[in-house]
């Protein structure tokens, strides 16, 4: 079987056996290793990508169900050489430690800010509660989201 999806703005025809998760398709079939996983059972948030505007866990998303959807991954967030405001804020605010959670964390943060441009602290915490940062870098991650929200509010479109 095969499904037609758009990944980071480009159309893809994915040949599938049927059992593959989106995570497997991204990492193994398409060699897009920016998306990570730490549990493969929906407990850590590391594999978060954006599908049709919503943050989802690619490790428990069956690729066969995705015909016609728009998928965004960490590889597609920057505009050419220019980092997305969320990416930029994560670098500037020192929100990156080991970095393994960061692609998922950035995708979850981006989905939040696109839906809710001015989240409260509580809303940020709830939006990210599915994403583990074992380095415990939460304060600086919160700070990055606040900074990115400001920059995105200034009208920069991505």
């Amino acid at each position: 079987m095969q499904v037609q999806v758009t990944i980071n703005g480009k159309p893809h025809t994915l040949p599938l056996n049927g059992h593959e998760t989106l995570l497997e398709v991204l990492r193994d079939t398409l060699s897009m290793t920016g998306t990570k996983t730490a549990c493969q059972e929906s407990e850590c948030g590391t594999c978060t990508v954006i599908i049709n505007g919503k943050a989802v866990l690619s490790c428990i998303t069956l690729a066969a169900n995705l015909d016609g959807v728009q998928i965004r991954t960490i590889e597609g967030l920057a505009d050419g050489d220019v980092l997305h405001p969320v990416q930029k804020a994560f670098v500037e605010q020192g929100s990156v430690q080991c970095g393994f959670c960061i692609p998922g964390m950035i995708m979850a943060s981006t989905a939040l800010l696109e839906k809710n441009p001015h989240p409260t602290q509580k809303e940020i915490e709830y939006a990210l509660d599915g994403n583990i940062c074992r380095c415990g870098g939460y304060p600086k991650i919160f700070e990055a989201i606040r900074c990115a929200a400001k920059e995105m509010a200034q009208g920069k479109k991505f």
Binding site: V91, E125, N131, I132, G137
Partner: protein, 772 residues
């Protein structure tokens, strides 16, 4: 010579420059061992014992061999039966683990065989087809049961006490008699797991005709891994290359070679040199990689009425699990950290590192200090409370001071402990709050700690090396053996290099942790990298700079000692006048006449003395870091729920090379400390891990993070690179006690067993009411 105006230049040391790897990480381009892939790469899987203790009678791999897609299977018969361990230098008898066990399985998860196949499904199928006949043996899981006579013997030894460590100074029994108050407490510190987000993962390739092994690894200590691989695979060191990729967290758990690293290489050899990737599942990560030691910590202290500590005695029982790993030195650290914090003249404590049929305990961030931090700092508060003394005053009376030698010969030079306590108290409003918020079930508590920056527990020296190569175009390459596991050491070491060389941070590229290319380094542990590898980087940059200045001096008939490089300019030291730009100087070095390659070399070995483990004497660290932490909590007496309102952490870090990274390390430590205090508790039943996943083993998440205040105390250590000391672990040590102490301040109950769960708090409240 025309004097030029200095260009605008930012000295990177002391600045929160962005992480050198930041842009790669946020775009997903940074490659972890998890991402390493090659054409025709095989998938490897480990066969693990389902029994906690069992004799291996036979292993039949024939059915698995004939499964299509299986490329190699290995058991102990394919190995040299060479044991490995991590404390071989000081405790040779604790080298007790084989990559694939031959005769006996000692815990649920012990590696018995390994398979390489074309894909994961086939590898799992092959594991099922390997027929192992076991004779199940009686097992022991409880520390106190394991040391009783007649307990099942786990190794071929006299008893299950793998290591007995006495630490004896003065005459505590005699002095204890002079005490006005003697208090004895027993604490339980549970088993936690490092649980790095990137699981243990490696790709091994053995090119048999080239006689070369390469391991792409998520190691925290690639040189240590190389040594263990070479030893167990009987290869020369220089035929083994360990390439550390970006590491998705380690926290102590990735310090050692694991059987999977060994297996990936040996499977590759058997599979015609194809690369083999082995990646732990999350369950394997929790079951078979190193965990934090569970400890029973008993301590007894005698004090005078005025709060002066006279003597301390105690006993520590550590659940070691099936093999020794880093256990002996973790145990030593759990006892000897006390000397860095408190002035104690009479001390007797004995540590027992006990074999059980539980998974293997090893290093985890804090290295014994989290357990001792909880026990000692809780105990100190209880003593102060009994004496009616303010816990802060009590501590100030007994803490170590700058420029002193402890009873076990640790040389404390810079020591900002008093300043840390005072600054944390002032920021938290200690005087206004302590003991004054009981009516609203709020309380405030303190914990203090100290930490080393390096420790010779691996071999006789603890050196780090650096090569600083300055290219013709002005780019600077720093080659360091240090292993950045996410703490940002590549950034900090690049900042140090740029500062010493007198050039911009943007010129520096850092290549780290490749045993074939970079100089030797013992690895990322003991909060040592900034201090030890940082000194090496500084010396490497100084050497490179000297080579450049020598040519400038020769060309201009000047004395090289009169010159320096600052802010991208070659200057005269005496008046700061500019002779030429750094780029011009480089042009000269690489000119027709000179053609001189600039390759600086740095090597640093801290001036320390190893511990004599018969007594506990030794100066393990080139300097020491200090720390005070205050927690404010609010308790719901109906539900037993504790809310941490705010944390204050004052840390003597010598000098912050990168304040943002330092803060991040502190905040991360506090988060991990919160986890250990409230919920991180690896649970076992008959040796089986009951919560081997992130649903069952909860780690800190975004909800519930309290406000964290970091206070950096800079004591400018003369031995540290530009005054810097190590940090990264100390802030984790006092968190549990600070919270337990705050809990008592709030509602008057004392919990001596972590984690601080709601049911324990409710139970303690009920018991307290019953006594009223």
């Amino acid at each position: 010579m025309k004097t030029q105006v200095l260009k605008e230049y930012v000295d990177p040391v002391g600045k929160s420059v962005p992480r050198i790897d930041g842009r790669g990480i946020v775009t997903g381009q940074t490659k972890y061992a998890f991402d390493v892939s090659f054409p025709n790469m095989l998938v490897g899987k480990m066969l693990r014992s389902p029994h906690a203790h069992a004799k291996i009678l036979s292993i039949d791999t024939s059915k698995a061999q004939s499964l299509p897609g299986v490329k190699a299977i290995i058991t102990a018969r394919d190995t040299h039966l060479i044991k490995f361990g991590s404390n071989e230098y000081f405790f040779p008898h604790t080298v007790d683990q084989m990559a694939l066990e031959a005769d006996k399985a000692r815990y649920i998860g012990d590696e018995i065989a390994a398979v390489a196949a074309v894909d994961e499904e086939t590898a799992y199928e092959a594991l099922k087809l390997i027929d192992v006949k076991y004779e199940v043996l009686p097992a022991v899981f409880d520390i106190e049961e394991a040391i009783k006579p007649g307990a099942p013997m786990i190794h071929d030894s006299l008893n299950n006490m793998a290591v007995i460590l006495p630490v004896n100074f003065g005459n505590p029994e005699r002095v204890m008699k002079e005490a006005d108050y003697v208090r004895e407490d027993k604490f339980w510190c549970p088993v936690a797991h490092p649980a790095p987000l990137e699981p243990h993962v490696c790709v091994g390739q053995w090119e048999t005709f080239a006689d070369k092994i390469t391991l792409w690894s998520s190691s925290q200590a690639p040189f240590k891994c190389r040594e263990a691989l070479a030893k167990t695979l009987k290869m020369d060191l220089n035929n083994v290359r360990v390439i550390k990729m970006a590491v998705g967290g380690g926290f102590g758990g990735k310090l050692e070679m694991l059987p999977m690293d060994f297996a990936a290489c040996l499977l590759s050899k058997k599979a015609g040199s194809l690369p083999v990737k082995i990646c732990c599942t999350r369950e394997e990560e929790f079951i078979s990689t190193r965990r934090k030691h569970g400890m029973i910590y008993k301590v007894k202290t005698g004090v005078k009425k005025d709060g002066t500590i006279l003597a301390m005695t105690g006993e520590v029982l550590a659940d070691g699990g099936a093999y020794c790993s880093y256990g002996p030195t973790v145990l030593a650290a759990a006892m000897m950290r006390i000397f860095m914090v408190y002035k104690i003249q009479h001390f007797r404590m004995t540590g027992y590192r006990v074999y059980t049929n539980n998974p293997i305990s090893g290093a985890m961030r804090g290295f014994g200090g989290v357990q001792s931090g909880f026990a000692i700092e809780s105990h100190m508060d209880m003593i102060a409370n009994h004496l009616g003394m303010d816990p802060v005053e009590f501590r100030l009376k007994n803490i170590t001071t700058p420029n002193m030698v402890t009873i076990n010969k640790m040389v404390l030079t810079t020591n900002g402990l008093r300043e840390c306590i005072e600054k944390a108290c002032s920021a938290a409003g200690w005087k206004e709050k302590h003991g004054k918020q009981k009516n609203v079930c709020r309380g405030i508590g303190i914990g203090i700690a100290a930490d080393v920056m390096g420790s010779k527990m691996y071999k006789s020296h603890e050196s780090a090396g650096a090569i600083v190569k300055v290219e013709e175009d002005g780019s600077v390459y720093l080659f360091t053996g240090a292993a950045d596991t996410g703490q940002g050491s590549n950034t900090a070491l690049s900042q140090i290099t740029a500062h010493e060389l007198g050039v911009s941070y943007s010129r520096i590229k850092c290549k780290a942790g490749d045993t074939e290319i970079t100089p030797f380094d013992t690895g990322s542990f003991a909060s040592r990298v900034t201090f030890i590898s940082g000194n090496a980087a500084m010396l490497g940059a100084r050497d490179a700079k000297g080579q450049i200045l020598e040519i400038v001096a020769k060309e201009h008939h000047l004395n090289v000692d009169d010159l320096d490089v600052k802010a991208e300019q070659v200057i005269f030291k005496k008046d700061g006048k500019v002779l030429m730009s750094f780029d011009k100087a480089l042009e000269l070095c690489y000119s027709f006449n000179y053609g001189k390659q600039i390759i600086g070399r740095g090597s640093y070995n801290p001036k320390t003395t190893p511990i004599d483990f018969r007594t506990g004497e030794g100066n393990v660290s080139g300097s020491y870091g200090f720390e005070a932490q205050i927690a404010e909590v609010e308790v719901d007496k109906e539900t037993g729920q504790v809310k941490v309102l705010e944390l204050w952490d004052a840390h003597d870090i010598g000098k912050a090379i990168n304040p943002q990274s330092v803060e991040a390390q502190i905040e991360g430590s506090l988060a991990m400390g919160l986890g250990y205090t409230f919920y991180e508790d690896l649970k076992f039943k008959n040796g089986l891990v009951l919560n081997a996943n992130f649903a069952g083993y909860r780690v800190p998440r975004s909800i519930g993070m309290p406000r964290m205040n970091t206070i950096l105390v800079e004591t400018n250590d003369p031995e540290g690179p530009f005054g810097a000391k190590g940090m990264g672990e100390a802030s984790l040590l006092p968190t549990s006690a600070a919270i337990a102490n705050a809990l008592e301040d709030a509602i008057g109950v004392r919990i001596k067993e972590l984690p601080l769960t709601a049911d324990k708090i409710i139970k303690a409240l009920k018991e307290k009411e019953a006594h009223l």
